[in-house]
């Protein structure tokens, strides 16, 4: 039983947490801007590399490097919006969605030009898991889970308790009425990109610290992250949290039944199933 938890459940929850960070960002973009954000994975890659650069060049401990990568990636997200999406705001959303694919390719190319296509990591060597009465969890894994709790609770508090958080919810709920209340849509959009960029850095960082850093790392998690967001119900933060965690768990558990090389297929299978059977997802998400 403990082996089952140590080999499948713990890695599943850790992978799921990384997906959840990404899925929450994807769902936020959708709920405010109403388009898919295909650059989400590559922006996470960028965040991971910014943290790497901050850690190696400035000699910062990795977690301090993350604290620096969050605002920088947030600024990058706002920048891409101003450059590539703002002028498309009044056009059909499919144009912005395609434009995010372009951003994805650009960001990946920048990473590959600056840092190359090789594989690296934040810390060399193998870390041994801590052993708690047979339960084996690495420190980084524990911090990943704690970070997810902090991010989700912080985001919930922001959205439910602050003026601008409520404005975000209002705009997600009824954009025209938000305008009639004098809520500045452009400011809400900028605020959303700040949060989304920060979340990208966090998901990329934790992906990097729990696995490895490479230029395709973010693109590789875009499918499970979208699957998590859709499984939870698009536009629902609590849904993205649960959906992301479930996709991670299912992926890890699927190797009990299918060859390891195919475990990514399970996310795709869930995505198809949800879209066919319950497109609103677990938490009754939005359909445009």
């Amino acid at each position: 039983m403990l082996d089952f938890i140590n080999f499948y459940v713990v890695p599943g929850i850790v992978t799921g947490s990384i997906y959840a960070f990404a899925a929450i960002g994807i769902t936020l973009v959708f709920s405010i801007m109403r388009h898919a954000h295909l650059a989400h994975g590559d922006m996470a890659t960028m965040g991971a590399y910014i943290a790497l650069a901050a850690s190696t060049m400035l000699g910062l401990p990795v977690y301090f490097a993350l604290l620096l990568a969050i605002p920088l990636t947030a600024a990058l997200a706002v920048g891409t919006d101003k450059l590539f999406y703002e002028h498309l705001r009044k056009k059909p959303k499919i144009l912005t969605t395609m434009s995010t694919l372009g951003t994805a390719l650009m960001l990946r190319s920048i990473v590959q030009v600056v840092w190359g296509v090789g594989t690296t990591s934040y810390a060399k060597g193998i870390t041994r898991p801590n052993d708690w009465f047979g339960l084996k969890i690495k420190t980084n894994e524990l911090i990943t889970l704690l970070a997810l709790a902090v991010v989700v609770l912080g985001l919930a508090a922001f959205l439910n308790r602050t003026r601008w958080g409520k404005a975000m919810r209002a705009m997600s709920d009824n954009r025209d009425l938000a305008l009639l209340c004098g809520i500045d849509n452009a400011r809400v959009i900028t605020l959303t990109w700040l949060i989304v960029g920060g979340l990208c850095a966090i998901s990329g960082f934790f992906l990097g610290i729990n696995t490895e850093i490479k230029s395709m790392m973010g693109w590789n998690i875009i499918l499970p992250a979208f699957a998590g967001a859709i499984l939870g119900g698009i536009g629902r933060i609590e849904g993205a949290l649960v959906g992301g965690l479930m996709i991670g768990l299912v992926e890890e558990l699927s190797v009990l039944f299918i060859p390891t090389e195919y475990k990514a297929v399970s996310a795709f299978a869930i995505l198809l199933l949800v879209l066919l059977v319950r497109p609103r997802g677990l938490f009754n998400g939005k359909i445009i």
Binding site: N174, D176, L177, L179, G182
Partner: protein
């Protein structure tokens, strides 16, 4: 001049086609004015023109001596005109209280007195303040929508078919609340399908047809006018 809102000879529409051809409407201080007319007459369109939601090609909209033609919705709100659309007029996933809070988004400082006044006008809402607005009945949702619009303490309140789909009991209640709101110093312009009831309750009325003014006058006069009654009120 005591008319806070004057629309003069409006011509305009949504794309290139005109919906309004020649519409003029005055709203006086502390007055309830109703716009009635057949479907497609441009009633709601006339109201949306005030909020810059359509292209005005001719004519002008003056509020408090200031030309507001073509202003963006948020500027119009800030100037002191609140608008309750006919549909999707609440934040259905937010609580009643949060709806009111969003209504006061532009207000700085302490506006607890504004909540008090709205809850006084709509006592039903006070008990439901923590309820999700989308879960309320149609009449209560209309109250949330009006309450939200009143949070900015506007000088003019625009209501687009506030009684559409409501039971007669709620219709009466909405009309009564509108009078109470008027008595707090707000002028109200509303569009109504229920022409007879609305004309009986309003101070003055306008009848629009095919994008033009057809009749105007006191509600009771319009109701008594035989030609008007035959054409628009079904005899």
């Amino acid at each position: 001049m005591n008319a806070p809102l004057q629309m003069a000879n409006l011509r305009g529409g949504y794309g290139d086609a005109d919906v309004l051809f020649d519409v003029s409407i005055d709203l006086g201080d502390r007055e309830i004015v109703v716009i009635v007319g057949p479907n497609g007459a441009g009633k709601s369109t006339a109201m949306k023109a005030i909020f810059g939601l359509l292209k005005v090609r001719d004519g002008s909209i003056v509020f408090d001596g200031q030309d507001i033609t073509g202003w963006s919705p948020d500027r119009v709100v800030q100037a002191g005109i609140s608008y309750v659309p006919q549909v999707s007029n609440i934040f259905s996933e937010m609580t009643v209280h949060e709806n009111l809070e969003m209504g006061a988004f532009l207000r700085k400082g302490n506006f607890s007195s504004a909540y008090e006044r709205v809850y006084q006008l709509f006592p039903d809402l006070k008990n439901k303040r923590k309820a999700i607005a989308g879960s309320l009945s149609g009449g209560q949702r209309q109250m949330v929508a009006m309450g939200r619009a009143l949070m900015l303490q506007p000088r003019v309140l625009l209501l687009d078919e506030p009684t559409a789909g409501l039971s007669p009991k709620y219709m009466e209640q909405i009309f009564q609340i509108s009078r109470d709101v008027r008595d707090t110093g707000v002028s109200i312009l509303l569009v109504e399908q229920h022409a007879k009831q609305a004309l009986a309750f309003a101070d003055r009325g306008y009848v629009l047809a095919a994008g033009r003014n057809r009749f105007e006058g006191k509600g009771s006069e319009l109701l008594a006018d035989r030609a008007m009654a035959e054409m628009f009120l079904g005899g």
